[in-house]
């Protein structure tokens, strides 16, 4: 037992370096998903039919394929085909980011649609353009409502980051496997990896809960539904 604990102790620095890679991956992917996802949501709700259909197709594609297939398709296939020679990390951020955009766009779309038409009507009646109305009135509310769903997305991407093992990214589980195969002690090592993920998952969600409370509009109840909790 004590040898196991010692092994864990010695492996931690190496594994934790992997968590930094993981965090970079998640940060990049979530940010990319956010930057693409919000305009996509706006396009679906306020755009014309052509735009909305295009976006629907994108969402259908990136949500319908398994992460693993997307990674293989892009990292070994499309990126090379298009002439890009990307590192595993960059490729992973792009793939997970595009995928996350598909999911995030639906979260934001739901939030935007849940904000009553009255808000938009009132804004337009004041003379605001559609764009200003969206920017100053709709989005501030929609973003707050989206936090629980977004927290869910964070937790999902964190767990999907492990799949990048398949393209050789040196994140937590790849490193764990590296140590396990050399020390013939897979159980304590993989349990440690699991523990690291647990902490990152619930720690992150907790932080997002705190964020939600901080930006809450006074007088409104919680936006979380049961079943949306981590």
């Amino acid at each position: 037992m004590t040898e196991n604990l010692l092994l864990v102790y010695q492996s931690l620095p190496y594994l934790l370096k992997g968590s930094i890679i993981t965090l970079k991956l998640i940060g990049g992917a979530l940010a990319l998903g956010l930057i693409i996802g919000i305009p996509m949501a706006i396009g679906q709700v306020y755009g014309n039919k052509y735009v909305a259909n295009l976006i629907s197709f994108y969402v259908w594609f990136f949500r319908g394929l398994p992460v693993l297939v997307l990674l293989f398709l892009f990292y070994f296939g499309l990126f090379l085909f298009l002439g890009f020679n990307l590192t595993a990390l960059t490729a992973a951020i792009l793939v997970l980011g595009f995928r996350s955009a598909a999911y995030q766009s639906q979260i934001f779309r739901g939030s935007i649609q849940s904000i009553g038409e009255g808000q938009m009507m009132a804004a337009r009646s004041l003379g605001m353009t559609k764009f200003k109305a969206i920017w100053y009135i709709i989005l501030p509310q929609a973003l707050r409502i989206s936090i629980p769903g977004w927290s869910n997305e964070y937790s999902i991407i964190l767990k999907d980051s492990a799949v990048t093992y398949a393209i050789g990214l040196m994140e937590i589980i790849t490193r764990g496997n590296f140590i396990a195969t050399r020390t013939y002690q897979p159980l304590p090592i993989f349990l440690t990896c699991a523990a690291i993920f647990l902490i990152l998952t619930y720690g992150g969600v907790k932080l997002l809960n705190i964020l939600e409370k901080k930006v809450k509009i006074p007088g409104y109840g919680s936006y979380s539904n049961s079943g949306e909790e981590y």
Binding site: W60, F61, G64, L65, P66, V67, L68, V69, L70, F72, L73, F76, G77, L78, L80, F81, S155, L158, K159, D160, S161, A162, V163, Y165, A166, I173, G176, N177, A180, Y184, Q185, P186, L187, I189, F190, L191, C193, A194, F197, L198, T201, Y202, N225, S226, G227, E228, E229, Y230
Partner: protein, 220 residues
């Protein structure tokens, strides 16, 4: 660039074998995961402190860690304490345990959304807790949980691809093997992708029809 002969003669046969393995994986995992989810949810809501905590810990672990890590633990780590799984069974076990946790959260939420009056009326008639949960609460809760559980079923169909990571050759694995051998990643994975999209779309449609059929008349 896209070589149709390659697709027909070289690619499709192993892919079809892979699809069969995928189908076997999901046919075993989906119903079992759902049943496990129901048991865990009922245990969490109606069980005593010990059972309820046990279910909570289970849910926290299996929702807080990646499926891949769970699969690695089952297939690579458990043998060191004497528990051996074949790649296929390791994958199935991991899928059942993982999706069971997700299903249990959706079902738990649904159970908790049922008005307390329903349980009171059932008990007032003389039903024991077990009967009340079985005949009154669950029939309503399971209907409410359908959107969430359908979501989870679709997820499982996609995540079945991770079986390849523990050397079980299903659809994605078959594709990778062919692609590596012939250096034709783009074509292979576009075909693999299309197959997944088809399966997912069909199952989604089917689940939507199921939800409509099970709707309680008058509600919504």
């Amino acid at each position: 660039m896209i070589d149709l002969y390659f697709i027909q003669d070289v690619l499709l046969p192993p892919l079809i074998e892979g699809v069969l393995v995928t189908i076997k994986l999901i046919i075993l995992s989906i119903p079992s995961g759902l049943i496990l989810g129901i048991l865990i949810a009922v245990g969490r809501v109606y069980g005593n402190k010990f059972i309820s905590s046990l279910c909570a810990i289970y849910t926290i672990f299996f929702r807080g860690t990646p499926l891949l890590v769970q699969l690695f633990i089952i297939y690579y780590a458990l043998p060191s304490i004497g528990i051996f799984f074949s790649p296929f069974m390791a994958a199935v076990t991991g899928f059942i345990l993982c999706s069971g946790a997700y299903h249990s959260e959706y079902i738990r939420g649904a159970i908790q959304s049922i008005k307390t009056g329903q349980m009171m009326a059932a008990e007032a008639l003389g039903m024991s807790r077990i009967k009340a949960v079985l005949y009154i609460i669950l029939p309503q809760a399971l209907r409410r949980a359908i959107p969430g559980c359908s979501n989870e079923i679709i997820y499982l169909i996609k995540y079945s691809s991770l079986a390849f990571m523990v050397t079980c050759v299903e659809l994605t694995g078959a594709g990778k093997i062919i692609a590596t051998r012939h250096f034709r990643y783009t074509e292979v994975f576009l075909v693999v992708g299309i197959i997944y999209l088809l399966v997912v779309s069909i199952v989604t449609k089917f689940l939507n029809i199921l939800e409509k059929k099970l709707r309680i008349p008058g509600l919504e």
